[in-house]
């Protein structure tokens, strides 16, 4: 899949601004970005729902709008919400999608893998959010696609089922399916994705494997938890000692966090401060840079809250 110089504008707002990216076959590729970054618009252009205003989009070498007939059987799409008749039963809905394909997966197997077999006869409107979510994923997979777009596949799922879905996505990759996913959960991208594209304001701000993106950071995080509440004035003294390049956040009476240059002097300053103020650390953790830190650095924003 290849996007070249895609531009999408609505009335007064540029949703996607000269975006180019490539998705390699047989990989899991995560598209991350804050709310309104242009992820959904980009994905929907690849799925043929929108026509590129400028630039071009090729999916499996095809134009999603012009070559719709040829492309649609080859891709699977999981929408963020909805996509089923409210009165249709889980199994009935999945079977219907299966019948539209030449050589669909066994619906029973798919339902079992996604823990949907208990609600096979439940109408869609009475399914829980998590069940609707999993049916959405099942509907995307049932036609044995070469490429699947999954939008927030694990939003609102409990941890156990989230792990099941992760394993399923990894199995898809192993079986030769290309997966393009958007997610709120950075740990999800970190664990699953071969490649991560971070989008902000409709532009690509970073691309790489999770390792490439998290390596070589310039910011270190130290989290300190103490046994007794900080003496009055002590946190202020630490802030002064650390200097302006370092950010100090008092989390509560017993803990604080320091973000500063990733060198030994920050840690030494904190240790000396403990000695001077007779503060006894209960724990001192050195934060490793994760995808969340990268995301924050690049976009200056928290990732979206799930379920938004």
């Amino acid at each position: 899949m290849r996007i070249d110089g895609l531009v999408m504008r609505y009335a007064d707002k540029t949703a996607v601004d000269d975006l180019s990216l490539v998705v390699e076959p047989h990989t899991i590729t995560a598209v991350l970005g804050p709310n309104g970054a242009g992820k959904t618009t980009t994905l929907e252009t690849c799925e043929g729902y929108r026509r590129p205003q400028r630039g071009s989009v090729r999916v499996l070498g095809l134009d999603p709008v012009k070559d719709r007939r040829a492309l649609m059987p080859r891709i699977g799409v999981m929408l963020q919400a909805g996509g089923a008749w409210s009165g249709a039963r889980t199994e009935e809905m999945l079977r219907h999608l299966a019948r539209l394909h030449a050589d669909p997966l066994d619906t029973g197997l798919l339902m079992e893998r996604l823990a949907l077999h208990e609600c096979g006869r439940t109408p869609y409107r009475r399914l829980s959010g998590g069940q609707q979510q999993r049916l959405g994923l099942a509907m995307a997979l049932v036609g044995r696609p070469e490429l699947v777009f999954v939008d927030e596949p694990t939003a609102g799922l409990d941890p156990q089922i989230r792990r099941t879905v992760w394993e399923l996505l990894e199995e898809l990759r192993a079986d030769g399916v290309t997966v393009v996913l958007t997610t709120h959960y950075l740990e999800e991208a970190e664990r699953l994705a071969d490649r991560v594209h971070i989008i902000d304001h409709g532009r690509l701000v970073a691309s790489g494997s999770p390792l490439e993106l998290t390596r070589g950071g310039t910011v270190a995080t130290i989290r300190l938890v103490v046994t007794q509440p900080f003496p009055p004035g002590a946190p202020e003294a630490l802030a002064t000692a650390l200097g302006a390049t370092t950010e100090l956040t008092v989390l509560d009476d017993l803990s604080l966090q320091v973000s500063g240059p990733a060198d030994g002097s920050t840690l030494a300053t904190v240790a000396r401060w403990c000695e001077v103020h007779e503060v006894l650390p209960e724990s001192l953790t050195l934060g490793q840079r994760n995808l969340e830190d990268v995301f924050l650095e690049l976009t200056g924003r928290e990732p979206e809250v799930s379920g938004s």
Binding site: Y49, R69, L97, L100, D103, P145, E171, D175
Partner: protein, 254 residues
């Protein structure tokens, strides 16, 4: 789990299988929906039995036996309820719940989707005709069926109302569609010359017979009286063209 469970093997089902699947699915959903069933069978049945058995008391009298006049009218009402009201409501909520969007990224083309919808309408209408026709026969209806009149009249009436139903569903919000489709149904039931002949409306009859409801009602009464209603069929065909073109022009998929 053996390797390769999800190995890609994409492909579209044969077109006929897709259309059949879609028609079957939509029929099942329609028959499962209580309110739609009320509109499709129960209300027409009440209208038929009620009007025939109370004709004398409510002052209905026609040149022909009452049941011979009312049964074709009730069949026209059944077509209207399914092709217009049920279709509009169902499609409105399909838009709202992202079903059309979902189907948009399956092998099902728009043409196959529409064919499936039409198939479902015709299946439901056939069931309505069996139930309502049997009720009419039990009440003493003795039709003189013109097959070349009835079949095109039903098809053209279905096309005319389906075009208008899709226009409403594709332009209004789901709730507004629900309200509008039911309101139009009630208004046409009362004043649209569906069940009662246009002549029963006095001077207004000259106007209402040009409505799709009046044209379909008159066409059905003629066709079950051994005639081929050419003028009414032309009126229905015109509505089908106008409604279909407007729906194609203004229908919003999302």
């Amino acid at each position: 789990m053996s390797a390769g469970t999800f190995a890609p093997a994409p492909g579209a089902a044969p077109l006929a299988r897709q259309v059949l699947a879609q028609a079957g699915m939509e029929t099942r959903l329609l028959l499962r929906n209580g309110e739609q069933l009320l509109l499709a069978v129960v209300i027409p049945l009440i209208v038929l039995v009620g009007a025939v058995s109370a004709a004398d008391r409510i002052g209905l009298s026609f040149d022909d036996p009452t049941v011979d006049v009312l049964t074709p009218g009730v069949l026209a009402l059944a077509v209207m309820s399914t092709a217009f009201t049920s279709l509009a409501i169902a499609t409105g909520f399909e838009r709202r719940y992202g079903v059309l969007k979902r189907l948009g990224t399956t092998p099902l083309s728009r043409g196959a989707l529409l064919a499936g919808k039409v198939g479902a309408l015709l299946i439901v209408e056939l069931l309505q005709f069996v139930v309502l026709g049997s009720a009419g026969l039990l009440l003493g209806w003795s039709p003189d069926v013109s097959v070349v009149g009835v079949v095109p009249a039903v098809l053209l009436g279905t096309a005319a109302f389906a075009g208008l139903g899709m226009l409403v569903a594709g332009t209004l919000r789901a709730e507004a569609t629900l309200a509008a489709a039911n309101l139009v149904y009630l208004l046409l039931l009362a004043g649209g010359a569906v069940v009662l002949p246009a002549s029963a409306y006095g001077g207004l009859g000259d106007v209402v017979q040009w409505l799709p409801s009046g044209a379909l009602g008159e066409a059905m009464r003629a066709a079950f009286n051994g005639e081929v209603p050419a003028v009414e069929m032309a009126v229905l065909a015109s509505w089908a063209v106008v409604g279909g073109a407007a729906a194609a022009r203004w229908f919003k998929w999302e």
